[in-house]
Subunit: 182 residues, 2 copies
């Protein structure tokens, strides 16, 4: 950020766990005064939008511990340091949705939580699909639902509490499809 | 979550700062074994999509310290405990974009970072707008840009690294507009 008014003064990892690091930076603010920044540091997450030959897709219904409710989502999972986006998206689609795809297209990336996390979320379209069966971790509670793309779109856009990452991915996917048509 | 397989066993606040709490829960996983969950706990954030009488809008270009780059975004800000969404959206639109609105419509809400944060993000449409001038904090570096809605949409959807919250809010806003037409 060459023209940024912010400059890091110090960096401290307060908590290091298997999923992310929780950090505290000291930095110069706009007027040169010192500020503190507490944040989550992790490489990112990867999501797949599976599309079958008939145009149908799969959403997962996922128990979200932090929200105390289920959410409709596209399959997604976190990257560990050193991992590349595509293999993580492939692994997550297989483990969470039980689907293997041979064709992958990068759709777009975004920062899901720019104010508090360094995470970047990568979205892919997955096609040429085969069912292989879920392989969930004990911290995951997920059911898999195949439906038309229109129904999935409606479910993501109208559930009472949306899943921000799936909504952002959906928006980027529809823009990506438009770009391919033109 | 009555049918959830997860049950909280303990809750600890590891770091309490002016913006959020960083917590560690112990909980039962799907098979009854004990898991640990590190997360950010905060009430939420509120964003405004300002729309002028001629249909134009405002995006902010915001230096994001954690990403080391600028992002195009809708004005957004965090809630503190006990605050309600609407007054926070009003305050943020005024402080970040320098705009005051007399008409507010709730567009939708979503969890921007369901795996790591309890935050819920509330989006509003703000109309009947008056310029009042920005009032930034020293930790904020923001420029304000008025443009057609089509241009703002394009900018949000095509910047190399998207802003997940603005993209999710845009998707919910377009769905909300469709619902009003039908």
């Amino acid at each position: 950020m060459p023209d940024s008014p912010f400059r890091r003064l110090s960096h401290e990892v307060l908590v290091d766990n298997p999923w992310h690091r929780y950090c505290l930076d000291r930095y110069t603010q706009r007027d040169g005064s010192e500020g503190t920044y507490y944040f989550v540091d992790m490489p990112g997450s990867c999501a797949a939008i599976p599309v079958f030959e008939d145009g149908s897709t799969v959403l997962i219904e996922c128990d979200r511990y932090l929200l105390g409710q289920k959410l409709w989502e596209f399959p997604i999972g976190g990257m560990k340091d050193g991992e590349e986006p595509l293999p993580v998206a492939q692994k997550e689609l297989e483990e969470e949705a039980g689907l293997r795809a041979t064709q992958w297209d990068f759709v777009g990336k975004f920062a899901p939580y720019k104010g508090v996390s360094t995470e970047i979320c990568y979205f892919f379209r997955a096609t040429d699909l085969t069912w292989v069966g879920q392989d969930l971790e004990q911290c995951e509670s997920i059911t898999v639902h195949r439906m038309t793309f229109a129904e999935a779109r409606e479910r993501l856009l109208t559930q009472e509490l949306g899943d921000g990452q799936s909504l952002a991915g959906l928006a980027l996917y529809e823009r990506w499809l438009e770009g391919r048509k033109s």
